[in-house]
Assembly symmetry: C2
Homo-oligomer: 331 residues x 2
């Protein structure tokens, strides 16, 4: 049997670049992560990625000539039409560079460029939690809230490369709703991103009549984090548990809105802030609450139809999806 075609998936983050060689069946045949060294600029990074592709091909017992294309993913904002990275906060030395062309030159391969959250959604669609569906919305919970929408094997990346910016949808029209980093009130990120959750925790603590172990943490000099809140909830702290369940409710409200807009077969929830995620008791309670709260707000045609699940690929979704998008485009 001849070897399957190979694609390189490259997922650029502020700290690390994840690089995988992925075959036609979505199997990773070789993988490594290298430091981004963003301060050295994107040309250097492109050269180091090209070198890594050679190492990875060798590791897999293949040759770099067998690579068909590169799938490149990075944080936004970007202009996908021209392949230019604009001004992501975590890559200050890379602003306004023609990232797609730089990587094409360094690797000698055709490059498909995509937003990292959209690439991760495509990864889950191709070979993760969404592999049995024709359409999917992925939401990624972390410091920020990101997302990606896949419909019939196509990424909804938008007229201005802003498709799936679901952290910035507005779930609360109130003038008292929390602000996000862009100065927009009442966004999904403002409620379900880590600052939103921690902000609600600090607000709860500030009421002296609220009894919670979280206050001891803060008075002990530690700053609250979603992980500390999750730990307190798992240890039986009612206030911490309430904060987690509230987060599920707000997430469900955002998901209902997205689902009533694009009506996918499934919603997949990933990222670092899933309160333990699949297989953990708190994570499973969180997911059950998201499902219940969504069901209570979905239109009847969708109430028993929509699937909501945890993502499966973890931090690998980005490079796998990037490779899958390159495969889709260049085969």
């Amino acid at each position: 049997m001849p070897d399957l075609p190979l694609y390189a998936g490259v997922d650029i983050g502020g700290t690390n670049i994840k690089i995988g060689l992925v075959d036609d069946t979505a199997q990773t045949v070789a993988y490594e992560s290298i430091p981004t060294e963003q301060e050295n600029g994107p040309e250097t990074a492109a050269r180091r990625v090209a070198e890594a592709l050679g190492r990875l091909a060798e590791k897999a017992g293949r040759t770099v000539e067998e690579l068909r294309a590169v799938g490149l993913a990075s944080p936004g904002p970007m202009d996908l039409k021209t392949g230019v990275l604009l001004c992501p906060g975590n890559l200050p030395e890379w602003h306004n560079t023609p990232l797609r062309d730089l990587f094409a030159e360094a690797t000698g391969l055709p490059v498909n460029y995509e937003n990292d959250a959209n690439a991760a959604a495509y990864g889950e669609f191709w070979t993760g939690a969404g592999d049995r569906f024709d359409s999917l919305v992925m939401v990624t919970l972390g410091t920020g809230v990101g997302g990606g929408i896949i419909i019939d094997d196509r990424v909804i990346d938008g007229a201005h490369s802003c498709g799936g910016e679901i952290g910035h949808i507005i779930i609360d029209a109130s003038d008292a709703a929390p602000l996000n980093s862009l100065g927009i009130r009442g966004t999904l990120e403002g409620y379900c991103g880590s600052y939103g959750v921690v902000g609600r925790a600090n607000a709860a603590i500030s009421d002296r009549f609220v009894e919670t172990a979280l206050r001891d943490t803060v008075e002990g000099g530690e700053e609250l984090t979603p992980l500390l809140i999750a730990n307190a909830a798992e240890a039986g702290d009612e206030v911490a548990l309430c904060l987690v369940m509230e987060t599920a409710k707000y997430l469900a409200i955002g998901l209902v809105t997205i689902v009533h807009t694009v009506d996918p077969e499934a919603v997949v929830i990933g990222g670092s802030m899933t309160f333990g995620g699949a297989g953990h008791s708190l994570g499973e309670r969180f997911l059950a609450e998201v499902r219940d709260q969504a069901k209570a707000r979905l239109i009847p045609s969708l109430r028993d139809q929509l699937v909501i699940e945890f993502a499966k690929l973890g931090g690998r979704a980005g490079y796998i999806g990037a490779a899958g998008l390159a495969r889709r485009k260049f085969v």
Copy 2:
């Protein structure tokens, strides 16, 4: 020059069925509206539509044999995969009927079936306010709030035929937000549908210290309507104007959410409740407020990019879009 190919657009409403013959350049060559007579059932209606197609072809100096296909639009819910109309409130005698096949049989033509709001969006995309764009979101304001999303010449009709159900997106997570007809709190329809606007007006009147001519209307025995509120606003009533501008704000919040989800080139606002619409002073103030309030909440990449305009085709958008979708599918 030979005649251009013709398509029939059929837009079924609770009261009337709009039928137009539309050519390849989106020109309507003949049009009529017939009463739906929903109580006589869908088979009768399909037969009467088939008869109308003969009359219309004759009126246009063409023959019915020149028709390539029928584009059928109706209110939802429906199952677009099977072509079955499910249970729309305004067509009680038509529930659970294979509408697409009934019309194919009656007309002897291939039929493309679509939700009426999506068809209207496609009409504006093809030949209305969106004809210079590759993607568009249309929102229709009336008793309900409907919508349709077109991306790269495709309708986002969803995995369960519920794409673009944007009246049911949630813009207010508060437990005190108004309920809509489906029992969902804080929906765009609850704020921007006619019941939502009238509800806020009645709430304003109930405060005896609020001075407004709307109270005289109600105390005179008339029920408030969006039109009465618009008239009062145009006559200088501050409270009525405030209600109109509030509606613009809530609409903008919903639009920002939809735009951050699918990132279209343009948003088009249509329907009967646009406060006079294009060319009317109140309508133009309403639109300007929608634009300002949206701009204040859009992410920077979109702030100066997104186009927001009034729709152009009025009540004709549905049958024109339905014909356009039949053209797209069957050419």
